[in-house]
Amino acid sequence: MLNWIWIGLILAALLAAGVQDLGLVQLPGADAAVAEKGSRMAAVTEAAFDSAKTAVNIVIGLIGIMAMWLGLMRLADKAGLVQLLARALKPVLRRLFPDVPDGHPALGAMVMNIAANMLGLGNAATPLGLKAMEELDKLNPRKGTATNAMCTFLAINTAGFTLIPATVLGILAAAGSKTPHAIISTTLIASGVATITAIVTAKILERLPAFRLPPHDPPTADEPGAGKEATR
């Protein structure tokens, strides 16, 4: 799926830039961008290299924050706080992630990630979420293939439920809005609908033949056959 979207995005970019450079499509207001780089195709080329550089810069910035949160998470884990959180929210978590055993550290990390997202603490949310993914992957018998729990967790994450959309409020305020906070209520409703849709679709789709986990693994050296749990 990601494969096709990736190919589609790049081919769409080449096609769109191509038709504009050949003069087949005229876009209003596109002259400025073209004048700056010479042609649409040149702008696309430059964007490819710039983006590759940006990706590494983002990761460099993330490494320090990751290290800090992973250090704190190890302490929280060893002190039993993560398990405590997982146990407190057991009734909800058991429904959302039936494949993850009670009190597993993955549950605690997921709760902390979702809480950080709700509070709009992006810097904390990503490292906590990555910790949760690492813990979920320990329960994954088929490395390289997403588990149901991972997909449900990411469904909640991509729906992006936030109590206070701080960045958006900032943009509205900067534009001179008299009532920027008017959108807080509408955002809550819309992101609530998005989150519920995400969970429900994830639960339905995980059973469809097209997305179901394969019953048999391809026979590889380090993975046990069907019907057996991972022995590692």
Partner: protein, 181 residues
């Protein structure tokens, strides 16, 4: 009432992280853990996780960057405008709807533009703001989260993310029309 709510929200946001750090340290102390050593041990992983994400993020961002720079979104808007008008979707919000799952900064840029053109307290401005607020940069999240554990077979994750996004957008447009129009 609104001021009080905002004050509480600001306080919660600025106190959440310090409170968490404090709780963790106190709990670790109570358990008599070697706090400093354990912290450093955990922090070591940060670098590995970062390295593991890089190829996935490069792949994603390069595709996004090319797509954005090509003007493909504007081409789509030109083609799809009459169709969207017919189903009641404001064509001016289409670029935002396409950009949102691909690029957070791109969507914020578009929001700033819409707000400048139509006014921050206009219906269109509020619809756009709600759309940005109610969703996430789906493809970035998928690339980083799955990338960190080297997962390439993502099964239904993409479809679920985009379905949720669409549901959020439709709700955003509809609710704003109900409340503000």
């Amino acid at each position: 009432m609104r001021e009080l709510l905002q004050a509480v929200a600001t306080a919660v946001s600025s106190w959440a992280v310090p409170a968490m750090i404090g709780t963790i340290l106190v709990a670790a102390l109570v358990r008599r853990l070697p706090v400093y050593e354990e912290f450093v041990e955990g922090a070591k992983e940060g670098f590995q996780v970062g390295l593991r994400i890089i190829p996935f993020l490069v792949a994603m961002l390069v595709a996004m960057g090319m797509f954005r720079a090509s003007g493909a979104i504007d081409v789509l808007k030109t083609i799809a405008s009459p169709l969207l008008g017919a189903v009641g979707f404001p064509p001016d919000l289409l670029p935002m709807a396409i950009m949102r799952p691909l690029s957070g900064s791109g969507a914020q840029g578009l929001l700033a533009e819409i707000v400048k053109t139509f006014g921050p307290d206009s219906l269109l401005g509020r619809q756009a703001a709600t759309m940005v607020g109610c969703s996430e940069t789906t493809f970035y999240v998928l690339a980083v989260y799955f990338g960190s554990v080297a997962i390439t077979r993502t099964r239904h994750a993409v479809v679920v993310g985009l379905t949720a996004e669409l549901a959020g957008f439709i709700t955003a447009i509809w609710v704003c029309r109900m409340v503000f129009a």
